[in-house]
Subunit: 210 residues, 2 copies
């Protein structure tokens, strides 16, 4: 009797990694082209050139595949942008809050304009708008970790005396992310570094005279 | 020979008004139930109990019908909220900028939670996310007039010395509308009067200590 190996042999691992990547790419391409409701596990499998059992072995649903594919895409972008493997999404803490938030928002602008990201991200966002359960799931998996980084950075700024003590970081961070998100989702205005830099200045120093 | 009357007779006008209202209601209900792509002029006509030629006589496309139906719904809500017929959407100018913006945002919170509004508004917003041309059209017809009211109110506050002279009102207004829009579109947090009141305080006085 042959016992099951604790780890897959190198060849199997390499083959699995190749299939996994093909599945991610197929899932993102397909949802961008036909939308979330018409994307199926069968369609992803056919496009990736794998059997659908391969997909069901690793994931429970098309939402699971897509969420992982997006997380992987985000990690790839972060690596290309020179982030460390350990903390691809950290917000820098140089002590200069305005500069640190501006840098992160500029990276977000780049990501929103990245064609690999745009079509699948829009398909997922659109589904979330009309399907509350899906929307909450996408937000929780894809946005909450990022939101938490803003909360942490704003708390550290509060401890450093750069943000007023009474401010709730969970609300304050929306001045940085929500205007950009709305311009992207609803075409309420153009997206640029100048724009996000301005948001940071206005948010920190307020609209009323000092 | 009978000349065409310049105005429809009272009976015809009443019948037309009844059909128009039935068409608006059918269009909003249908798009909320089946989504924008599967809403058709034929479906709206059947549900409203009118011939589809009646719809084509007044509107060029389903987008046209829906945009008018939304504008009508907004006017109805404004009338129910006690706004004057002349300026249903004006932002008050009592001289207290914070109070005026808070009042308008509280009305927006009520609208976002109005079940007549929610499903059709989500269907339209979702289509706009994936179809840029439709999205720009919806934003231009349904959001820009409202955005312009904020621009006007902020300019008047600037003239009164309540907003810093260098601030661009077109960007500043996003601190009031975008966080609320993102919470509604992406479920990033709960929506309440307390929340929108807080947005106004933070936006006017900034996050950094004074």
């Amino acid at each position: 009797m042959v016992t099951k190996p604790a780890k897959a042999a190198p060849d199997t691992a390499r083959r699995s990694e190749k299939s996994r990547r093909a599945i991610y790419e197929a899932a993102l391409a397909l949802v961008g082209e036909v939308g979330y409701p018409r994307t199926t596990i069968e369609g992803i499998a056919a496009r990736a050139g794998v059997g659908k059992q391969t997909i069901y072995r690793w994931w429970g649903s098309k939402a699971d595949v897509l969420l992982e594919a997006f997380l992987d895409l985000g990690e790839q972008s972060a690596r290309e942008a020179g982030a460390s493997d350990q903390e691809p999404y950290a917000i820098p803490d140089t002590g200069d809050l305005a500069a640190d938030i501006k840098a992160v928002l500029r990276a977000t602008v780049d990501q929103l304009k990245d064609p690999r990201f745009e079509a699948p991200a829009r398909a997922l966002a659109a589904e979330g708008v009309v399907d509350e359960e899906a929307g909450r799931r996408f937000t929780s998996a894809l946005m909450e970790p990022n939101i938490q980084l803003y909360v942490d950075r704003l708390r550290s700024a509060q401890e450093a005396g750069q943000v007023r003590p009474g401010i709730d970081p969970r609300i304050a961070l929306e001045f940085f992310i929500s205007p950009l998100a709305q311009r992207w989702l609803q075409y309420t205005g153009p997206i640029s570094y100048d724009y996000t830099d301005t948001l940071v200045e206005y948010a920190l120093y307020g609209l009323a005279p000092r």
